[in-house]
């Protein structure tokens, strides 16, 4: 039902998420933001079971902030991703597992941009591009075909647009608009929402 996508470039990460908050067959909100800002240069995109997403994402968010307050510097994206994965893994075999699928995108001064794919089984993979949701079945091959490690920002947005258009064409559910954000060495930038009218 929900869709997340991330594309890593040479010095930036582009991420997008759909804006629908649904409850069974009804769209309750059309402008819901699924991205959580962990720090100045790290975004966590979170989809999955209804209450689990917000609870887990906010838990991670507050803990990352706490680390900064205690130690005076921020966690790197890789550290934050591993911390998130550890929490997912710890809760997985408890009585309260969190059923969430995540993308963590960030920019580190020394390591550069990073995109981390995590799923509810607490797997973690650093990937050049990734997607979550049923929409991923439709768009991963487009990403495979057109992705290059040296994509410019404009080209990355174009690639994202191709993916969204494919969803609009073939995906059974209506996902009318997508929030788009870009992370680079200067922080998180909000980009223009991609809105498609029904074909």
């Amino acid at each position: 039902m929900e869709y997340l996508i991330g594309i890593q470039g040479p010095d930036y990460v582009l991420v997008a998420a759909d804006n629908v908050a649904a409850s069974s067959i009804i769209q309750m909100k059309h402008d819901y933001d699924k991205m959580f800002k962990l720090s100045e240069k790290i975004l966590l995109l979170c989809v999955g079971e209804a209450g689990d997403t917000v609870q887990f994402a906010e838990y991670i968010q507050k803990n990352v902030q706490l680390y900064k307050m205690r130690n005076g510097y921020e966690l790197s994206p890789s550290a934050a991703a591993n911390f998130t994965r550890k929490n997912l893994a710890d809760y997985l075999r408890s009585r309260t597992p969190y059923h969430v699928n995540l993308l963590l995108a960030g920019h580190d001064e020394s390591d550069g941009p990073g995109l981390f794919y995590m799923d509810y089984m607490a797997s973690l993979a650093k990937a050049p591009f990734a997607a979550h949701g049923y929409g991923a079945f439709l768009t991963l091959s487009i990403l495979d075909r057109y992705y290059r490690p040296d994509l410019s920002r404009v080209e990355a947005v174009e690639l994202l647009r191709k993916c969204v258009e494919e969803l609009n064409k073939r995906f059974i559910l209506n996902l009318p608009s997508f929030s788009v954000r870009l992370i680079d060495k200067d922080g998180i930038h909000d980009m223009e929402k991609i809105t498609l009218t029904a074909k």
Binding site: A21, I26, M28, Y32, G51, D52, R95, T96
Partner: protein, 321 residues
């Protein structure tokens, strides 16, 4: 900050039951009985007030679905399953995110709706309480005022809704007394959402558009919490949504808004078997909430039939039955 204080609330009560910190006398008595009766009295979490005694859950003949399916299928060994009574003190076991089976299908038989407009927030709900196929009460109240400026609509199990409304009222009042200001709607919604989180998976209670001027939140027992300007909850909600989506704009007058809210509930009750009887309309503004007299939708049905008949006669065309 506030939530942390509330979570230490248990401590305060355990230690100083006799002090005059309690809000009302009846509240104090209730808390005493909780403190003595529950076997978990040395716990410090607020939530342990709300769990029935461990003994009761163990002996209850009706499996309310909180106990996992794994236990009921006896032959299969599950090494990680702890017996329920001992696991209660450490954590709340009923928070599995898998759906657990219920003794009978509890549909959220209701139509409630709320929306914001220039004149404040309007809420409307039907009044039928159903219980698997029979109308248990045709005149129940589904919109419960929490305080003078906050009203919650309820959908789901009536008992749970009533309970949580009272718990929320109590917590908000305590917040007000402690900090000298009213908790915002956003805060109240967050508080309710966090209080419901341990009970996730038990289909406890669903859908509480609670609002005070001017904001509107939808809180659900599965953990969803959304801010918006139009929500409808319950089995009749799709029907209500379609009427509301056509007519609700920011610039409505109070009369127009009331009329469309009534119309939406009426149409939903017409189509949905589990909604019906009367309609309640509440209007919340900065001065507080006001309630419109309860209206019987049966009359509305007959009035509409009459209107249609007159229109047909006026047009002079004969329409088939």
């Amino acid at each position: 900050m506030a939530l942390q204080d509330l979570c230490n609330f248990g401590d305060i009560f355990q230690e100083s039951v006799g002090t005059a910190r309690n809000v009302t006398a009846s509240g104090k008595r209730k808390s005493c009985s909780y403190a003595s009766g529950v076997a978990l009295s040395n716990s410090t979490s607020l939530f342990h007030f709300y769990i029935p005694e461990a003994g009761y859950l163990d002996e209850s003949p009706i499996q309310f679905g909180q106990i996992s399916t794994m236990q009921s299928s006896s032959g299969i060994p599950f090494p990680e399953m702890l017996p329920i009574p001992s696991s209660l003190p450490e954590s709340l076991p009923f928070t599995s995110s898998q759906a657990v089976p219920l003794p009978f299908p509890m549909a959220h038989g209701t139509t409630t709706l709320a929306f914001m407009f220039q004149g404040g927030v309007l809420a409307a709900a039907d009044t039928r309480s159903s219980c698997s196929g029979l109308v248990a009460c045709p005149a129940s109240q589904k919109i419960l005022p929490i305080h003078s400026h906050l009203v919650g609509t309820t959908s789901g199990t009536s008992a749970d809704c009533a309970l949580w409304k009272r718990i929320l009222s109590r917590e908000l009042r305590l917040y007000q007394l402690r900090y000298g200001r009213r908790l915002s709607t956003r805060g109240a919604a967050k508080l309710l959402s966090h209080m419901l989180h341990p009970f996730k998976g038990t289909e406890l209670y669903c859908g509480c558009p609670c609002f005070s001027g001017p904001s509107l939140f939808y809180v659900c027992s599965d953990g969803t919490r959304l801010e918006g300007s139009l929500f409808s909850v319950g089995s009749g909600s799709p029907y209500a949504y379609s009427i509301l989506d056509q007519g609700v704009r920011w610039g409505l007058t109070v009369e127009e808004a009331t009329s469309i809210a009534r119309e939406a509930v009426y149409r939903a009750t017409h189509r949905d078997a589990y909604s019906g009887n009367f309609v309640d309309v509440y209007h919340v503004t900065s001065k507080g909430w006001t309630r419109r007299t309860r209206e019987d939708l049966k009359e509305e049905y007959y009035r509409e039939k009459e209107r249609r008949r007159l229109e047909r006669e006026r047009r002079g065309t004969a329409l088939s039955g």
